[in-house]
């Protein structure tokens, strides 16, 4: 073919870039709904069964390779866990009385979370493949009454919220995803703030906590349930891992470690709850 008849590389690039910019613009304008959200939902619906089947079949291979690559780290974790287990056993008796006290506080504060909220149990069938998003896919969807925005918990506490739903699958964005935010309240002091995801493996940052508040390391944080919040009040979220009061600042620098083990989520409960219906 004569060279003159070939499309010029830069022209082709320009054309494709323009197409990309157009898609991004249209996608941005359509927000969470629209044709692009539907396309993603259909893709999840089509890919879901394939993903689920192959994931179960290939997960042991992937886990083996990851385990081999992370061998030293796993060994270290194992050692730490053994130490922690020993410490926990010695503190078990003491903890029982503290649990009783905590139950009393929760009852006083009307924090019996999940008591009246209907839930749907679901199993995690896949984890998100992107390094820029912390998501998991669960095997329940709109056919089970799940809609976008509903909170998701596991045995430990809040793990995230539903961000995409197809008929039989739902995508849950996890608490440590950088775009995730949730209003929190310190159970002990009553201070409120907003916890923001900081990426996989990083502690969440808690902002909007005024300097005068008596937040301490080790305090438990639960969802605040303030008006306009997307989560019911009293769902355990995390534990304060550090508190720093900057010189001359008006707000505390607080970080929080999620209670739920976000790296190994297997079974979850989706709360069929919305701010409107309660």
């Amino acid at each position: 073919m004569p060279a003159a008849r070939r499309p010029r590389g830069r022209f082709l690039l320009l054309l494709v870039v323009l197409a990309g910019v157009t898609l991004v613009t249209l996608s941005g304008r359509s927000g969470n709904g629209g044709v692009f959200a539907r396309a993603r939902s259909y893709a999840a619906q089509v890919l879901g069964p394939v993903q689920s089947g192959l994931h179960s079949a290939l997960a042991p291979v992937g886990n083996f390779i990851s385990g081999a690559l992370e061998y030293r780290s796993l060994e270290r974790q194992n050692q730490l866990l053994r130490q922690e287990l020993a410490a926990q056993q010695s503190a078990a008796v003491q903890a029982q009385s503290q649990i009783a006290q905590a139950d009393q506080v929760l009852a006083q504060e009307h924090l019996g979370y999940l008591a009246k909220v209907p839930t749907v149990a679901a199993q995690v069938v896949d984890v998100g493949g992107s390094n820029f998003e912390q998501t998991v896919e669960v095997n329940r969807g709109s056919s089970s009454g799940i809609v976008v925005g509903q909170p998701v918990v596991d045995g430990g506490g809040l793990i995230g919220s539903v961000t995409s739903v197809s008929r039989h699958l739902a995508t849950v964005t996890l608490l440590d995803n950088p775009s995730f935010s949730v209003g929190v309240r310190d159970v002990r002091s009553g201070a409120v703030g907003v916890a923001l995801g900081e990426g996989q493996g990083n502690n969440d940052q808690v902002i909007n906590v005024n300097v005068g508040q008596r937040v301490r390391k080790g305090d438990y944080l639960v969802t605040s349930g303030l008006p306009l919040e997307h989560f019911p009040a009293g769902v355990p979220v995390g534990r304060v891992s550090s508190v720093f009061s900057p010189v001359g600042g008006f707000q505390l620098s607080v970080s929080m470690h999620p209670i739920a083990d976000l790296a190994d989520v297997q079974f979850v409960r989706v709360l069929l709850w919305s701010p409107q219906t309660g």
Binding site: M1, R5, L12, V24, A39, R40, L69, G129, T163, Q200
Partner: protein, 209 residues
């Protein structure tokens, strides 16, 4: 579109779909330092390496579109935009500065992936996706390095698959850009003869000497 062009386009599409399934199943379980490989980005890089700038642009765009289908937090089209630029850049480099040898595929995969991660984050940040940089610069550098390492691991099989997918008798310019004067059919001659621009530069250097 002629028969061979259509077959070539179908082979490339099949390769991209297989890549998507691998990424969302097996790839998600492969974690080193908590980071998974980005197979779709690697496909864009290797398309540029095996097929040149035009193939890299078009296949990179397609690979990005498929990747966008699986993402939730970023606008649809962001990966397509980033990956087509990466495919073009790798393809342009191959056309003008490199010779396509399978032996350098891992090096190209690593460089292309590093470039791709930063292009994706930079474009995303410009478009208001500030969550992409929230975890910090150090996290981003570690992510790019780990992804590049994963790309090195998968580069040779992917480059080989692209050689197979882009093989054919005629150039399907209308189907996949210029997928090919090089990749389609005359792979052997491409390896022997340097690209025209590189050849002109060498001649100019020889004259200066």
């Amino acid at each position: 579109m002629s028969g061979p062009s259509a077959r070539r386009a179908l082979r490339v599409l099949g390769l991209l779909l297989v890549g998507l399934v691998v990424q969302t199943t097996f790839g998600a379980d492969l974690r080193a330092h908590t980071f998974a490989p980005d197979i779709m980005l690697l496909l864009a890089v290797m398309a540029g390496f095996s097929g040149g700038a035009d193939a890299g642009t078009v296949i990179g765009f397609g690979s990005g579109l498929l990747s966008d289908l699986t993402l939730q937090g970023t606008p649809f089209g962001l990966s397509a935009l980033a990956f087509c630029l990466v495919g073009f850049a790798v393809g342009w480099t191959r056309d003008n500065l490199l010779r396509t040898r399978l032996a350098i595929a891992p090096l190209v995969a690593a460089g292309g992936t590093l470039f791709g991660v930063f292009v994706f984050v930079a474009i995303g940040y410009v478009l208001g996706q500030s969550q992409l940089v929230t975890p910090g610069k150090r996290w981003l550098v570690v992510l790019a390095v780990v992804e590049a390492a994963w790309s090195v691991v998968f580069s040779l099989p992917v480059a080989w698959l692209f050689e197979l997918a882009l093989r054919g008798p005629q150039l399907p310019v209308s189907a996949l850009g210029e997928v090919t004067s090089a990749a389609a059919g005359d792979t052997a001659s491409r390896r022997r003869v340097p690209a025209p621009r590189a050849r002109r530069r060498r001649r100019a250097r020889a004259k200066v000497r």
